[in-house]
């Protein structure tokens, strides 16, 4: 399952691309091709274990729930 924060976009405020690219809705930034492997749960990766941004967000949400 890919990360729920992952989108594919052609632009943001400071970038404009010919083709859609991986964009992180949580950090509001395009992600590198290397990171996109994690966002897409590709190969041995899963975003819940390998992404610092996602882990931090989940920790924040959980601590807010307490």
């Amino acid at each position: 399952m890919v990360c729920p924060y992952l989108e594919y976009r052609t632009h943001d405020e400071s970038h404009e691309f010919d083709h859609p690219r991986a964009y992180c809705g949580a950090s509001e930034a395009f992600v590198s091709p290397m990171q996109a492997d994690v966002c897409n749960d590709r190969d041995r990766f899963d975003h819940a274990s390998y992404c610092s941004v996602y882990r931090r967000l989940v920790a924040e949400i959980e601590s807010g729930d307490d």
């Binding site: 590198s32 091709p33 996109a36 994690v38 590709r42 990766f45 610092s52």
Partner: protein
């Protein structure tokens, strides 16, 4: 490979690494990702003197895809004269994906062979176990592919000696000494000297240094009788605050430096001869 090789005017093998697996157009719009773009860059670099093209595959979103190596290889063969294709088998993906770098048709003349794992970000260690490395080395030998031995740090030279002791490599061993952050060798002239001192007998070495270390450490390699790899995979900037316009810009500067220092650039044919591939 020694300073004597420099004095003797041994030719320099120049490798261009156009794309890599780390950065994308989000970091520098000029980084080529699609097969035709990569092939155009390689052709321009070959014209300037690059004899080896280190190749990664990307999909339509610019993401890493070993499945796209075939298309990149085909495009390079269509556009270029005689450049040596060196496919990656490295990076963070699983073995089954990385091994595709030596299973293109026809196989590449060369492929990278990482000598051990390294860190990526906070949670990733690449999966270069001894078992995986030996399997790749064996298959490369069966297919007649010359490995470039990627020594990301000092310990990876131990592993290189170990592979030689196992009889899995053929002379001359082509070792790529890698400098940068994280688990790469710390980039300094003294560390380069030390690593060169610890190379196996009958080795040729190449230097890859990331970012602002690219120019000084590859220049030092020229003086030590080694070879040079440059390109946007390793360095997105031409100089501080000035993004590289293309790979050719970095190659052109290296050619100028190498020639100023009195060494000539090897043609692909001469590179094959230096590396025992003919």
């Amino acid at each position: 490979m020694t300073y004597d090789d420099y004095l003797a005017g041994k030719k320099v093998i120049l490798t261009v690494a156009t794309t890599g697996g780390v950065h994308g157009k989000d970091a520098n719009l000029n980084l080529p990702e699609q097969p035709a773009e990569i092939a155009r860059d390689v052709r321009e670099c070959e014209r300037l003197g690059a004899s080896i093209a280190h190749v990664h595959g990307r999909d339509e979103y610019g993401e890493n895809s070993a499945a796209h190596l075939q298309a990149v290889n085909d495009a390079i063969r269509d556009h270029c004269e005689d450049v040596i294709i060196q496919n990656t088998t490295g990076g963070q993906s699983a073995y089954e994906s990385r091994v595709r770098g030596i299973r293109t048709d026809p196989p590449p003349e060369m492929a990278s062979l990482d000598m051990g794992p390294f860190n990526r970000g906070q949670h990733i260690i690449t999966e270069h176990t001894r078992h995986n490395i030996e399997s790749l080395a064996r298959e490369m030998r069966e297919r007649g592919i010359k490995p470039e031995l990627e020594a990301f740090n000092n310990g990876h030279l131990n592993e290189t000696h170990r592979l030689i002791d196992l009889g899995l490599l053929e002379e001359p061993y082509y070792v790529n000494l890698i400098f940068g952050g994280g688990t790469f060798s710390m980039p300094s002239p003294r560390n380069l000297l030390n690593l060169v001192d610890n190379l196996p007998e009958n080795a040729e070495f190449n230097v890859l240094a990331t970012g602002r270390h690219q120019l000084p450490l590859t220049t030092m390699a020229v003086l030590l009788g080694g070879h040079v790899r440059v390109g946007m995979e390793d360095n997105l900037y031409f100089e501080r605050g000035r993004p590289a316009e293309n790979n050719a810009q970095l190659v052109e500067r290296s050619v100028e430096v190498i020639e100023r220092l009195g060494r000539e650039i090897a043609t692909p044919e001469e590179a094959r001869s230096i590396l025992g591939m003919d």
